[in-house]
């Protein structure tokens, strides 16, 4: 119970972190959705924004020179003045319109650029998402494989344990048989039979040792003789083969369980003192 309390905080932190991670993933999804384009249509505000972008000075209308006239006469140039004022207003309007169009152009340019950026961004996000999905899928696949492996491992260990238990049983039985007088007698009988039939040649030295695999059938009949190693000359090898063949059939054990179809014989000269 105290143990559970100790684990509680880390566990909850872990949970929170996981939630955060997962939700951030979802939020990331949101970021990837495209935003609709909304052009700005308020012209009045445009005028106040003129100072931002200096208009391209294609044509600079000469500023109308203020007419400096003597005040004495008052010619009737109010029409002219009205026309001039109209002209000026027209020019001004034209300029304003130009600027307005320019601003619109720029705005659209900016919008376009922004859209492109956003598009690229979206694509990038899309790619990232796809990548994450791929990795996620891969991770899931690996998890599956690992789970499968673990399962196999478990099965194998189970099987092994079973086999080992069987082996130990067998071994114990075999040891009992091996150490039994009956087994010793069986080995001795074979050893003596071959010893009697073996004429060790004069070329054998005290170090001579030949190891031979012998296959026998249940009645002791020898069906295979295979010299594994032998450090003697041809005369020694011949004598070993002859000794074994002459000993067929080999003596049988008192207990059939002791029988072994394969024998490994080690032949060496008797050591003189």
């Amino acid at each position: 119970m105290a143990r559970n309390g100790n684990n509680f905080v880390p566990i909850s932190m872990a949970v929170v972190l996981h939630v955060v991670l997962l939700s951030s993933m979802l939020v990331a999804f949101d970021f990837a959705r495209p935003t609709p384009i909304t052009p700005m249509a308020i012209q009045a505000t445009l005028v106040t924004e003129i100072p931002e972008a200096p208009p391209p000075a294609v044509e600079k209308q000469p500023e109308p020179e203020p007419v400096i006239e003597e005040p004495d006469l008052e010619p009737d140039n109010s029409e002219e003045l009205r026309k001039q004022a109209e002209e000026e207003k027209r020019v001004q309007d034209a300029l304003i319109e130009k600027d307005r169009l320019e601003k619109i152009r720029q705005q659209e340019e900016a919008n376009r650029k922004r859209r492109e950026r956003e598009e690229a961004e979206r694509e990038k996000q899309e790619e990232a998402r796809k990548e994450r999905e791929r990795q996620e899928a891969e991770r899931k696949r690996q998890e599956d494989i690992q789970r499968q492996r673990d399962e196999n491992e478990r099965l194998r260990k189970e099987l092994e344990a079973e086999q080992r238990a069987e082996e130990i049983e067998d071994e114990e039985r075999r040891l009992a048989a091996n150490n039994s007088p009956a087994m010793a007698a069986y080995q001795y009988a074979i050893s003596q039979r071959i010893r009697r039939n073996w004429s060790v040649p004069a070329s054998a030295s005290p170090d001579t040792l030949c190891v031979v695999n012998v296959r026998q059938l249940a009645g002791g009949e020898i069906i295979g003789v295979n010299i594994i190693s032998c450090n003697g000359d041809d005369a020694v090898k011949r004598s070993v083969e002859a000794a074994i063949h002459r000993s067929s059939p080999l003596p049988e054990p008192s207990d059939p369980d002791l029988f072994s179809p394969i024998l490994e014989l080690s032949l060496r000269p008797e050591q003189q003192n």
Binding site: A202, A235, A242
Partner: protein
């Protein structure tokens, strides 16, 4: 699917492991014994009802006498082929023989024959050697020995000595106290005895020249000892040493030009001398007042080994062939005499007193260990075969002197059939240096 496959693999592996673990291990300690072989009676094709010589018997005798082989009796043979093609290997592997020899003698002319033989390994089922030797009636025995040599060499890797000779002395009782002494040369199996010298006075210490053409020996004709060298072919002999007192124990040097001899002089103090055969000049090697005798050369010509009782009883010493200080060689036992080196220079045979019995012992010169190889009470005169693989020596059987051969390891002894009377002092010839 993967799960099932891996399971199956695991089961198979475990099953296999269990099968291997069942191998029963057995130790066998064998004793040296002569190798069983089968020499099948030879076939005969010729004018007379029987072949001039029983080849199989000669070969059997040679192989048996070497101590290394034990030919099986003819009655045990399941088949008696005379041609290799007729050999049924299962018939022979059952008998456990390690080699089978079959052969045939065919007459091809009035006194011309062909001796043909084949040697088989019945377990590997293949021919080891096959040969055809031309012969006349007179050389048939030599041809049989040559076949035995080839068979022996193939099976043991050692050069055969069946074509060599032995020389020995016999003493036959005559009327009264008289005895007739003879010096005989025969084949190494005792056949073809040839008397080269006889005397009513003792003959001693025959010695072969290295080319096998001459024998040196001591004769007591005229009631004094003197040394002769006799040519075997012609029978001519010449006296090489006739000094007052003892003239004895001659032995040839490896190049045949000198003899080591024993001279006693008027004062009767036997010492070792080297005699140049051509000039008859002698050079004295020992001066001790002890008995120094029985000199013999080492095969490399560097040393002379001899018997000396300067330490109280006979022991074996050696001295440089050019002279110097003798050094003692035997230290085991109270009596070691009559040294003879094996032709391969590795061993020294001697007469050794073994708990009251005089027996032949062989010492490995490097290891200095002594091996007693004979079992009599009065064994003497050991001589190595030229392949260093056997020794011949004299022993007593029911009071009579007889000859015996023993394998170099001392394990197999064989009596040798030899001449009449008391037989003694056998010496084995070198390998013949000329073809006869």
């Amino acid at each position: 699917m993967f799960k099932k496959l891996s399971f199956a693999v695991i089961v198979i592996v475990f099953a296999a492991n269990n099968a291997v673990a069942q191998k029963l291990r057995i130790d066998v300690q064998g004793v040296a014994q002569p190798t069983p072989v089968a020499i099948v009676p030879f076939g005969w094709e010729g004018n007379s009802p029987a072949m001039p010589l029983d080849i199989a018997e000669v070969i059997k005798g040679d192989l048996r006498r070497s101590g290394r082989f034990s030919p099986i009796p003819e009655n045990d043979m399941l088949q008696k082929p005379t041609d290799g093609a007729d050999v049924d290997f299962s018939d022979w592997s059952i008998l456990g023989v390690e080699a089978v020899v079959v052969g045939k003698v065919t007459q091809v002319g009035v006194n011309a024959y062909s001796l043909r033989f084949q040697l088989f390994d019945p377990f590997r089922q293949r021919q080891l050697v096959g040969y055809q030797i031309p012969a006349s009636r007179g050389t048939m025995r030599g041809a049989a020995h040559r076949a035995a040599d080839m068979i022996y060499e193939k099976l043991t890797g050692i050069k055969g000595v069946f074509g060599t000779k032995v020389a020995y002395v016999t003493a036959e009782q005559q009327a009264g106290r008289e005895r007739l002494y003879s010096l005989i040369v025969s084949d190494q199996d005792g056949e073809n005895e040839f008397k080269i010298m006889e005397s009513k006075d003792p003959i001693m210490s025959p010695a072969w020249s290295p080319d096998s053409r001459q024998l040196a020996y001591v004769s007591f004709e005229g009631s004094r000892s003197s040394i002769f060298i006799q040519n075997l072919r012609s029978g001519n002999r010449f006296q090489v040493s006739n000094k007052p007192g003892i003239n004895g124990a001659p032995a040839f040097s490896p190049n045949g030009k000198k003899l080591v001899i024993t001279l006693g002089g008027v004062e009767g103090n036997p010492d070792i001398y080297v005699l140049d055969i051509t000039s008859r000049q002698v050079k004295r090697l020992t001066t001790h007042r002890a008995i120094d005798t029985e000199g013999t050369w080492s095969p490399d010509g560097d040393h002379i080994y001899f018997t000396s009782d300067r330490s109280g009883g006979p022991q074996i010493y050696r001295i440089s062939a050019n002279g110097g200080t003798p050094e003692r060689v035997t230290f085991e036992g109270s009596y070691n005499a009559r040294p003879r080196l094996s032709p391969d220079g590795t061993r020294l045979a001697m007469v050794h007193n073994d708990r009251g019995n005089y027996r032949i012992a062989v010492m490995n010169i490097e290891r200095k260990d002594l091996l007693v190889v004979s079992a009599g009470r009065q064994d003497e005169s050991p001589s190595f075969a030229p392949n260093s693989d056997s020794l011949i020596y004299a022993t007593r059987q029911s009071g009579d002197g007889v000859l015996e051969t023993v394998s170099a390891d001392g394990l197999i002894r064989q009596k040798m059939a030899s001449g009449q009377g008391d037989v003694r002092e056998p010496v084995w010839s070198p390998f013949p240096k000329f073809t006869k």
